[in-house]
């Protein structure tokens, strides 16, 4: 077998050195009844060609984003990733290294984590960022737990327009958390103002709001931040489209106490939902309550700048049951992809990419508004908005597939059973969409609706 270097002869020599007669001697501590005599009932080993053939056949059954006009978003976005990103993250020294527990021989990983933290703090407008979470949704759950630790309060108020899967993650984590955390969720309406400030009381730890929200609405959150702070609650802002941070006033400047974002749009790719990378940033005064790994600057014995994992006294391997979180890994390689792509973009590139996304969405909205029976509901948005169709959106999306268009996410996929949103379609546009893509979508939608 190509991944196993020991030869039969070497195995015998090694057994002899150990003083064992056979390999079975090394498994004597396993209860006899549990020792399998034969391989389990699964296929036997395969060469590369066979594996490629079988997995290639499965891959071929899927409709890829690049092969069709593509407008699916709602938490994951199709962006162009520069070729050098994927090349660099496959370098052995990045791909096959471990969590940097021995900093003297892991400065590569540590330095890019430090750069990542700096980038994340900059684009969110916050003081400090951690070395990433699994993804935006788990980061949101951690943020709510963190707010409860800081405020010692027990109720989180969630916007009804927070991505429902994120809300479910928060509800699951809080529902099982020891601290008896209640989660209150606002009503679901794609456009009507949502009076979250009115729900804040003296036991509210935080208000969680997504911006742009799940229907694409972009809002100025300053008034909400003030309302939360006036009652001693924190404002947690969730961003599922990190590119928006290039064009929208930073959430730090709007008064957020914790910003959580899904970083998938920068460098990572779609990957059917994972692995992604959660961005997590907060104010300096809450730094020691942050979950997850942190990379910090220091010096070595010769006074040279170097980097180490730091503040690990918050973490599980030191604090065990008293840790701020049970997190052990971050999303290392995806942080690297994010950092490289962000480095390539730079100040101008990141802002321009965001502008192109916004224009793509405006152009798409204009094109779809021309389709008979279609109404664009969202007034202020970044690169995603909601349209109202004359019939249930799920069936329309399936009909669009037959015309070779992946035309967005029916709101009913996220809010099943809610009749009010049954005809709503959430549509995303990015820099990869061309005028021809938009025209094809509008034409296909016209046909499907006629």
């Amino acid at each position: 077998m190509r991944y196993l270097p020991l030869t039969p002869g070497e195995r015998q020599q090694m057994l002899a050195a150990i003083g064992a007669r056979s390999i079975d001697d090394l498994f004597v501590d396993v209860p006899e009844a549990a020792r399998l005599k034969d391989p389990v009932d699964l296929p036997r080993f395969m060469g590369e060609m066979q594996v490629e053939r079988e997995l290639g056949a499965l891959a071929a059954k899927n409709m890829t984003a690049s092969s069709v006009p593509f407008f699916v978003g709602a938490g994951a976005y199709k962006h162009h990733v520069p070729a050098s990103v994927d090349h660099i993250i496959q370098r052995s020294e990045f791909l096959t290294s471990y969590t940097p527990y021995q900093p003297e021989i892991a400065q590569g990983t540590l330095q890019y984590l430090f750069e990542f933290q700096t980038q994340v703090a900059a684009i969110t407008g916050m003081d400090v960022a951690n070395a990433s979470m699994y993804d935006g949704s788990t980061g949101t759950g951690e943020a709510v737990l963190m707010a409860a630790r800081i405020t010692k309060r027990h109720k989180a108020v969630l916007s009804g327009r927070l991505h429902p899967h994120y809300a479910d993650v928060v509800r699951t984590v809080c529902g099982h958390a020891g601290a008896n955390l209640a989660v209150e969720i606002g009503g679901v309406h794609p456009t009507a103002p949502e009076d979250l400030a009115a729900r804040i009381d003296s036991d509210t730890s935080c208000v969680v709001v997504q911006n742009p929200d799940c229907f694409g609405n972009l809002a100025d959150l300053r008034a909400l931040a003030d309302a939360a702070h006036a009652k001693g609650a924190l404002l947690i802002v969730v961003v599922t489209e990190a590119v928006s941070l290039g064009l929208v006033t930073s959430h730090g400047a709007m008064g957020a106490d914790i910003v959580v974002a899904e970083g998938q749009s920068i460098g990572v790719g779609l990957q059917f939902g994972g692995p992604y990378v959660g961005l997590f940033a907060t104010r300096e005064k809450y730094m020691r309550q942050m979950p997850g790994r942190l990379c910090g600057q220091t010096v070595d014995g010769q006074g040279r700048r170097g980097f180490v994992l730091t503040l690990s006294t918050r973490e599980q391997h030191i604090r065990r049951e008293k840790a701020t979180s049970n997190i052990c890994t971050n999303s290392g390689l995806m942080c690297l992809a994010f950092t490289i792509h962000m480095t390539l973009l730079g100040e101008h590139g990141f802002q321009r990419l965001a502008q192109l996304n916004h224009e793509a969405a405006c152009d798409l909205a204009d094109a779809l508004a021309e389709v008979p029976g279609v109404e664009v509901l969202t007034r202020s948005y970044f690169n995603e908005f909601t349209v109202k169709l004359p019939k249930p959106a799920a069936a329309v999306v399936s009909a669009l597939v037959k015309k070779g268009v992946l035309g967005g996410v029916p709101a009913s996929r996220l809010y099943p059973g809610d009749k009010d949103v049954e005809n709503l379609l959430i549509v995303a546009a990015t820099e990869v969409n061309t005028d021809a893509c938009r025209a094809a979508f509008a034409a296909a939608l016209t046909e499907v609706l006629s």
Binding site: P39, L55, N62, D86, F94, T96, P103, V248, G273
Partner: protein, 528 residues
């Protein structure tokens, strides 16, 4: 054109035996590299994007004003920056990476190729389900392999890492207990040798942690465990093989005891590599076990992630598998994304992540598992255990192996610092000296049950030749530590590492006054 036609052939010189200070700070192939932020704004581009039309603004008055503060680099500068950083990292492709409990095995590149097939890498988690049937089939196939290998009837695929899997397992246990009306069960028994994630996870979801001592054989003290059982115990969390590298030979008795007391048996599967294909946890009475795809099934560790931690479940916990999950549906597959879509008897406890789990890791793990097959995976466990026992046998006369005489180890060999007593050399010094010898150190100071622990896990992908060289390095250092003390020379250890890109770093200073991001020089000065 001939090269060097005016020079002369070089001869080997004595250079290298002494450190010279270079003018640049570089040392040949080891290049000093600034932060990207040290470069500042320059107006360069690393990506060529079309020029925006510049007319659209439907941002509702939220448009950003002012700069973000990102530096500008061109593509060649960016590539060189990150390549130089990469050269400061030790990796499994560089050499033996015997980090105990981490299973640093070879990461086949076929896996990378498969994960990058557009049909897997370029699909969206919320595309219409009929357009991603091959993706559901891959998840379903991987689930089948995991269930078959472990002898367990159900699996939750969505957890994103080992600790996330632990969370999933304990939440399922909590849900099952609530369904039985047994909310009073709030205590979790955790052996003192457990990974830190075990107690942290238990505490996170509101359980109290009760520590079970180990025996002098490095196993769970069964009598102590039984004495702690009661009507308030929810579960026991046992790592098997355990973090001393030993198989819990009374695992059936542990399972019977916890089941007899009405609780569940959670197994931390971090060390599953030792038994894959040879032992099914389902045959040991396990109710839930997470599987680190990034350990046993070779998905790359990537400098600390991403991981993937599917959890297999017994029949008792199967109904509580969290959303979403894939089911066969007629000729195809369907993804259950909401509790309203769940089948009869399925009561998912909630949702752990936005989408379906670490698809990119599923593809890699599947590629690895198919490559090995059921026969090859069995050989994986055998060779992993053989390699660890070989290292133990070759080192235990010069080092100290606290459980070296109690029988074979499994996939990792545990040493303590008894052999360093009186030498002035600590476990940390010993590990740092190993860096100078060209190896990544073993896991140190874990598990906590022995003093100055050194946990060596070679994995099955190391050749005998590599092991012999490593053993030579370890033996030499052990003998040197003992001899050096007599001669008053232990600076090889106390000052190590000498030859790495950085010498020992000041972690205390880093924690005392944390600097977690770059700040512009002016701002940094103002802050001081």
């Amino acid at each position: 054109m001939s090269m060097n036609n005016q020079g002369r052939p070089t001869h080997a010189t004595q250079g290298g035996s002494e450190q010279i200070l270079t003018f640049t700070g570089h040392r040949a192939l080891v290049q000093e590299e600034d932060l990207i932020f040290d470069r500042g704004r320059s107006g360069k581009w690393g990506v060529d994007l079309p020029v925006p039309k510049g007319r659209a603004n439907r941002l509702g008055g939220t448009a950003r004003k002012g700069e973000i503060g990102l530096p500008d680099l061109s593509e060649p500068e960016t590539v060189r920056h990150f390549v130089r950083l990469s050269q400061k990292n030790y990796s499994i492709d560089t050499g033996l990476f015997p980090l105990g409990s981490c299973t640093m095995k070879h990461n086949p590149r076929l896996n990378e190729k498969m994960a990058r097939l557009p049909g897997f890498g370029d699909i969206h988690p919320l595309q219409p389900q009929e357009t991603v049937q091959g993706a559901w089939e891959l998840i379903d196939r991987l689930a089948h392999w995991l269930k078959t290998l472990t002898g367990m009837p159900a699996v939750a695929m969505s957890p994103k890492a080992g600790a996330h899997g632990e969370l999933c397992g304990l939440m399922a246990i909590k849900a099952a207990l609530q369904a039985r009306g047994e909310k009073q069960r709030t205590r979790i028994l955790v052996p003192e040798s457990a990974h830190g994630t075990n107690p942290a996870t238990a505490a996170l979801i509101g359980y109290t942690v009760d520590t079970v001592p180990a025996t002098d054989r490095g196993r769970v003290d069964l009598a102590a465990l039984k004495a702690k059982l009661g009507p308030d115990v929810a579960a026991v969390m046992v790592t098997n093989p355990n973090t001393c590298g030993l198989f819990e030979d009374e695992v059936r008795e542990i399972a019977d005891a916890i089941h007899g007391a009405g609780g569940f048996f959670y197994c931390d599967g971090a060390n599953y590599n030792a038994i894959v294909g040879r032992v099914r946890p389902g045959d040991l009475g396990v109710d839930a076990m997470h599987i680190n795809l990034h350990k046993t099934f070779s998905t790359p560790h990537g400098g600390g992630g991403p991981g993937a931690g599917p959890v297999v479940f017994s029949q008792a916990l199967a109904p509580f598998v969290p959303l979403p999950y894939v089911v066969a549906d007629g000729d195809g597959f369907r993804n259950v994304e909401h509790s309203g879509e769940a089948g009869d008897g399925e009561t998912p406890f909630g949702r752990l992540t936005a989408f379906h789990g670490q698809m990119g890791m599923f593809t890699r793990a599947m590629s690895y598992m198919m490559s090995h097959g059921s026969d090859g995976l069995r050989q994986v466990a055998e060779d992993a255990v053989l390699n660890a026992n070989y290292v133990l046998a070759q080192l235990k006369d010069v080092m100290s192996a606290p459980f070296g005489d109690t029988g074979p180890c499994m996939h990792e060999a545990l040493f303590d610092d008894e052999f360093l007593k009186g030498t002035g050399v600590t476990t940390l010094d010993f590990a740092k000296a190993l860096i100078d010898e060209g190896y990544h150190p073993m896991t140190v100071y874990f598990p906590l049950v022995v003093h100055g622990a050194m946990l060596v896990e070679p994995t099955e992908t190391e050749s005998k030749e590599t092991l012999d060289r490593f053993i030579y390095a370890m033996r030499s250092l052990a003998l040197e530590a003992k001899a050096g003390n007599k001669e008053g020379k232990t600076d090889r250890f106390s000052g190590a590492p000498y030859l790495s890109p950085r010498s020992r770093l000041d972690e205390t200073a880093a924690a005392r006054k944390p600097v977690l991001k770059w700040t512009p020089p002016a701002a940094a000065q103002a802050a001081e």
